[in-house]
């Protein structure tokens, strides 16, 4: 049984925009999936259905074979979503307080909150910044803080919505390392991006959305040659292999 599954997922906004249409996808435990697509292809809307932030107009999302709406809090713990804009995800006055936000929402006892905050900050290497104001962090640090905030919920699946936008080279490398580390520690990763050259070498699978529809789903080395049909840049030069598509040395 797939860990996470969408059936016929469709979302039509009140103004009539069809954001996604009949998407059927299955994600298995431990997979590293890159979801690509041009601007406005419905990536963000799709991601927001996976933890029930948006309700489908038609279709459903299943986690471990059960509809996600059955226990929405449990779903949101299991499916961590890192937002496109870290500024809108960070709500704490200090780094540590922000990471504590999730566990505090779960009403955990204070000592457990502290423990999980410490652990999450260590996992992303931000322990020494724990008393800083998030507003003063660099782009890469902010993104890692957003990840720590999700880790504190101990998710099984982590969805990252365009984690590289606005980052400089060191920032991308920081975040990239972090994501690979998360995958190694057993998390299922769904990564939304259109910058395939930064990450694709590490992925097991490439999914492409186009105008709200699922158009490609397969091994990166098979799918990538068709990506330019859907407005996603094909980053391979002559003779290069998918394994070259990473910003890690």
């Amino acid at each position: 049984m797939a860990l996470l599954e969408t059936q016929d997922l469709t979302h039509i906004f009140p103004d009539g925009t069809v954001a996604i249409q009949n998407i059927n996808l299955k994600f298995n435990e431990g997979e590293f999936v890159v979801i690509a697509g041009a601007n406005g292809s419905g990536k963000t809307v799709f991601a927001r259905h996976l933890n029930g932030l948006l309700k489908p107009t038609k279709g459903k999302v299943l986690i471990d074979g059960e509809p996600i709406t059955k226990n929405i809090v449990e779903t949101r713990k299991k499916v961590g979503l890192v937002f496109q804009d870290p500024d809108s995800q960070i709500v704490g006055q200090t780094v540590a307080e922000d990471v504590a936000f999730g566990p505090e929402n779960l009403n955990l006892p204070v000592d457990q909150v502290e423990a999980v905050v410490k652990e999450s900050l260590e996992a992303v290497g931000l322990s020494r910044l724990s008393t800083r104001s998030p507003h003063t962090l660099s782009g890469g640090e902010k993104r890692r803080l957003a990840i720590a905030g999700i880790l504190a919920m101990r998710p099984k699946i982590i969805i990252l919505d365009e984690p590289f936008t606005g980052l400089d080279y060191p920032g991308v490398v920081q975040v990239l390392k972090q994501i690979i580390q998360l995958h190694k520690t057993g998390h299922t990763i769904l990564l939304i991006t259109h910058e395939l050259e930064k990450i694709l070498a590490h992925a097991d699978r490439l999914v492409i959305l186009h105008k709200g529809k699922l158009v490609e789903d397969g091994k990166p080395e098979d799918v990538i040659y068709r990506s330019e049909n859907y407005g996603v840049r094909m980053p391979l030069r002559d003779g290069e292999k998918v394994a070259a598509l990473t910003w890690l040395k």
């Binding site: 906004f13 009140p14 948006l54």
Partner: protein, 202 residues
Amino acid sequence: MSQNQSSNLTDMPTNTTRSSLNLRMTVYVSLFTALIIIGGYISVPLPFGPVPIVLADLFVMVTGLFLGFKWGLTSVALYLSLGALGLPVFASGTSGLAVLFGPTGGYLFGYLLLVASVGFIASKGKQSIIRNLIALIIGNMLLYAIGVPWLKTVMNFGWAGALAAGLTPFLPGTVIKITVAVALSRVLLPRFKQTLLSASVK
């Protein structure tokens, strides 16, 4: 979803999740409080008259139009309480009980009346520009109806002095701000209500 929904925010369709709507309103209240605070720091020069205008009261008006009576009042009450606690939120970074009960304190308490009356009148029945305009005019009259006598009492002014210090210089600015508030509500308010509705209905 019907387009002619009532503008009352608490009057949502039945499949609204209560907690999600509350969260949304919590966030919006915070936003408008932040905007009122920032409005106190933004001053715009007028081509006539020596007094530049600050935008705090403009944002109070907008708060009333956008959030309605209950949440709008919450937003302004939060603003005043933060100031009373000593956080530098009043015009140009001042704070504390000293300001709240000082000469200009009447205007600050007047914000409560302003937002309450704008929110109350504007969200009764169907949205219209005329209704919003009337709400804003009445709201501002109430604001000065508290602010000026307060100033007169605290400063031991006569009526002529109080009016010259506390009303006349601000009237052109107030007229401008009312105009802007109406223009804003025409463009942004329908979209705002739409988002709120689609977000809470899902």
